[in-house]
Amino acid sequence: MVYFGDLKEKKGKIHINKDRCKGCGFCVEYCPKDVLEMSDEFNIKGYHPPYIKNEDECCYCQLCETICPEFAIFVTLKEKEEQREKGESRP
């Protein structure tokens, strides 16, 4: 991926609420970076939730967050996560 100047690619951290998922597969199918995959495990209702296959590929497009009908998956910007872990605050 070539970026011009100071442009950096965004990285996303994916949060999946496994028990809310109903296994529809929309997020897996439409993720542009193939980050997610349906798992074989069962959640509390008997559905197969997705699992994160390639977290590093996630580019924070937030498509999975918008498409999920169950509000069960969302993405946060990874810089924010790393900075919080380091204890810094954003300006």
């Binding site: 609420n17 498509l63 498409i67 009908p69 919080r84």
Partner: protein, 293 residues
């Protein structure tokens, strides 16, 4: 699921959803949840005063949306969401009223109210989730079921001609008409944003998969297959002639923003006309200019 995830971060949509009522009642693979997410995105991006946004729903699967959004919301009787919204808007013109209901509710039993509200150019936004049947009651044939499709009250196939909702809205006088499928996420969000800030009757039709009923009865696969089908077979034609927007059974779908015109709303026309005729005796009603944004 890591416990830390739940505590650290909250799904950003949660401040617009009634989390005490989630998980919702919609089937796995149902597109209504996706439309609700697009709607909440549109609300956040539009920077509207959310206290003044009111959601009115009718009866049906889409009618349950009112119960899940954290705004002033009303779950009214079948087909009467549009006149209810009319009453709300006229009584308090500062409210931003959104009718979120299904195709059976708006174009079936509520057909008369729909065309009259469009005729009067009521300043409300209608988001019609079209899944081609009456889903909540078990998948009966609706006014939008394509010719030849199967439904529980048309077990041998539907022989009635369906409505083309954008054509109906255009003929009735709507000033903003758009049609998308549930997968056109960002475009639905943008349409909703435009409709919310537009003065006039806005109508957005979103075609969504109905897994348990329409797809199952017609052997069309599951939610993913149907959603894929709708998206792959849709062509975007902005400004297309609304007379050419029929949907045939498993045929091509024409989507896009078809109508975006200006026309005085009911209150604008009322203020202008009665102000002219009655002069000083008339008491001005509502806001005279559009400074909603």
């Amino acid at each position: 699921m890591k416990k830390e995830d739940q505590l650290e971060e909250k799904n950003p949509m949660e401040d617009l959803l009634r989390m005490d009522r989630i998980p919702h009642i919609w089937c796995p693979g149902c597109g209504i949840g996706t439309v609700v997410t697009s709607f909440t995105e549109a609300l956040k991006k539009s920077k509207l005063d959310l206290d003044k946004v009111v959601v009115v729903s009718g009866i049906g699967c889409t009618g349950r949306v009112a119960g899940y959004v954290k705004l002033d919301s009303f779950h009214t009787t079948h087909g009467r969401a549009v006149p209810f919204a009319t009453g709300l808007k006229l009584a308090n013109p500062e409210l931003n009223v959104v009718v979120f209901s299904g195709d059976g509710d708006i174009a079936g039993i509520g057909g008369n109210h729909f065309i009259h509200a469009a005729r009067r150019n009521m300043d409300i936004t209608i988001i019609c989730v079209n899944n081609f049947n009456y889903a909540m009651t078990g998948g009966q044939v609706a006014a939008t079921t394509p010719l030849g499709a199967n439904a529980s009250t048309a077990p041998y196939g539907n022989f009635e001609f369906p409505f083309s909702l954008p054509y109906l809205a255009d003929a009735a006088g709507a000033t903003y008409i758009a049609r998308w499928t549930a997968l056109h996420l960002r475009r639905v969000t943008k349409s909703i944003q435009e409709a919310l800030s537009k003065r006039g009757f806005s109508f957005i039709e979103v075609i969504t998969p109905c897994v348990t009923l329409y797809a199952r009865r017609n052997r069309l696969g599951d939610g993913l297959n149907l959603l894929k089908y709708y998206y792959d077979n849709s062509e975007i034609h902005h400004g297309a002639d609304t007379r050419t927007l029929d949907i045939s059974y498993q045929g091509k779908l024409v989507v896009g923003k078809f109508v975006d015109k200006e026309k005085p709303t009911f209150l604008d026309a009322m203020n202008k006309h009665l102000g002219k005729v009655l002069g000083d005796k008339y008491v001005l009603y509502g806001r005279i200019n559009d400074d909603r944004d």
